[in-house]
């Protein structure tokens, strides 16, 4: 393959978005593409790199919702995390684990809204819309993993107040090999110690309630 061009699969790995999402960007003209004689799409590497340079939560949102009117229509009328409601965002590609967490939140915290995203990109889009107070993320997800999500969230001042929890079955060496975790992340190993997680959530619910009543 010509080094100046990359395939959809390679571009999807570079940008950390799914092939479907990337296809949408190409179809909407956000990223130029050419077709080979065999009908395969090839993307100019320079265009992919340019998108990668400016990729962040808001940049991705703008790319996926280029029409501001459509974006406004798609957005909820009011933030989900209204003053009387605390939102928790669970990011987990294993539906058994997310079902366990969702059940726990529904049962133990009826006043809390629990949302589930299935990978980091999905989470980035939901972060913008729902403004959660607590983000609980798995680390090993594809194509956009929890490491990258946590880096994005901790790098953004608007998410400074979000409490962060990482869930994983990985050992310390593997976590270090993949770049480690930002400093203010609570790491919980699988199987999830739900008592420890609830202690963490209890503390944040308390803080939230105090702030809401002040």
């Amino acid at each position: 393959m010509n080094a100046d061009f990359v395939g959809i699969g390679e571009a999807s790995r570079i940008l950390g978005v799914s092939r479907t999402s990337l296809q949408k960007l190409v179809d909407s003209g956000q990223i130029p593409a050419v077709k080979t004689a065999g009908g395969h799409r090839r993307l100019p590497r320079a265009a992919v790199d340019a998108v990668n340079q400016k990729t962040g939560p808001k940049a991705l949102l703008r790319l996926f919702e280029p029409n501001p009117e459509a974006a406004a229509l798609a957005a909820p009328q009011a933030p989900i995390d209204a003053p009387d409601k605390l939102t928790v965002l669970v990011v987990e590609d294993d539906s058994a684990t997310s079902a366990l967490l969702r059940s726990m939140f529904e049962e133990c915290y009826p006043g809390v809204t629990c949302l589930v995203a299935t990978d980091g990109l999905d989470a980035v889009l939901m972060l913008e819309r729902s403004r959660p107070r607590i983000l609980i993320t798995d680390l090993n997800m594809k194509p956009f993993d929890g490491f990258r999500l946590l880096q994005l969230v901790t790098a953004r001042p608007e998410y400074r107040a979000v409490a962060l929890v990482a869930l994983t079955g990985m050992g310390d060496q593997e976590i270090d090999r993949r770049g480690g975790l930002p400093p203010r992340v609570l790491l919980l190993r699988k199987p999830i110690n739900m008592h420890r997680l609830r202690g963490f959530v209890d503390a944040h619910v308390q803080i939230f309630s105090t702030q809401a009543s002040a």
Binding site: D94, A96, T97, A99, L100, C108, G111, N140, D202
Partner: protein, 129 residues
């Protein structure tokens, strides 16, 4: 805003299982009531895992095999399937030593687990899954 489920909700009657450590599930999660929901979610993923596993074995794609083992192990933790976790851990060790993955034991373990999870889902009240 907080509510303790163990204080007011009866624990469900669950069938006997050799594959799931009910005591550990209750200890780590806090309530057996959630097991049918989690079991149901696990079962929905199983056909895809089997397909992926066949593909990863056929292509001898070690990265894919490793990722898949890790993913299934994570889900096994959610249902406290410690027999399957043990088999997967041993397979991971073999893989790390560069030996080819021998899937027979794992597939057999997943079949046993599937049967037990199905029994749990079937016996649970309709609103539990």
């Amino acid at each position: 805003m907080k509510h303790d489920p163990s204080s007011s909700l009866a624990q469900p009657r669950l069938p006997t299982t050799s594959q799931i450590d009910l005591a550990k599930f209750q200890q780590s999660s806090g309530s057996l009531k959630w097991l049918p929901v989690v079991a149901s979610a696990f079962l929905r993923q199983l056909p895809q895992w089997r397909e992926d596993f066949d593909a990863a074995l056929a292509s001898q794609n070690r990265t894919h095999q490793t990722d898949l083992l890790h993913k299934i192990k994570g889900a096994c933790y959610a249902v406290a399937a410690y027999g399957a976790i043990d088999v997967i851990t041993k397979a991971e060790v073999q893989q790390a030593r560069g030996r080819p993955l021998a899937p027979a034991r794992l597939l057999e373990q997943l079949a046993l687990l599937e049967a037990d999870l199905l029994a749990i889902v079937v016996q649970a009240p309709a609103d539990a899954h």
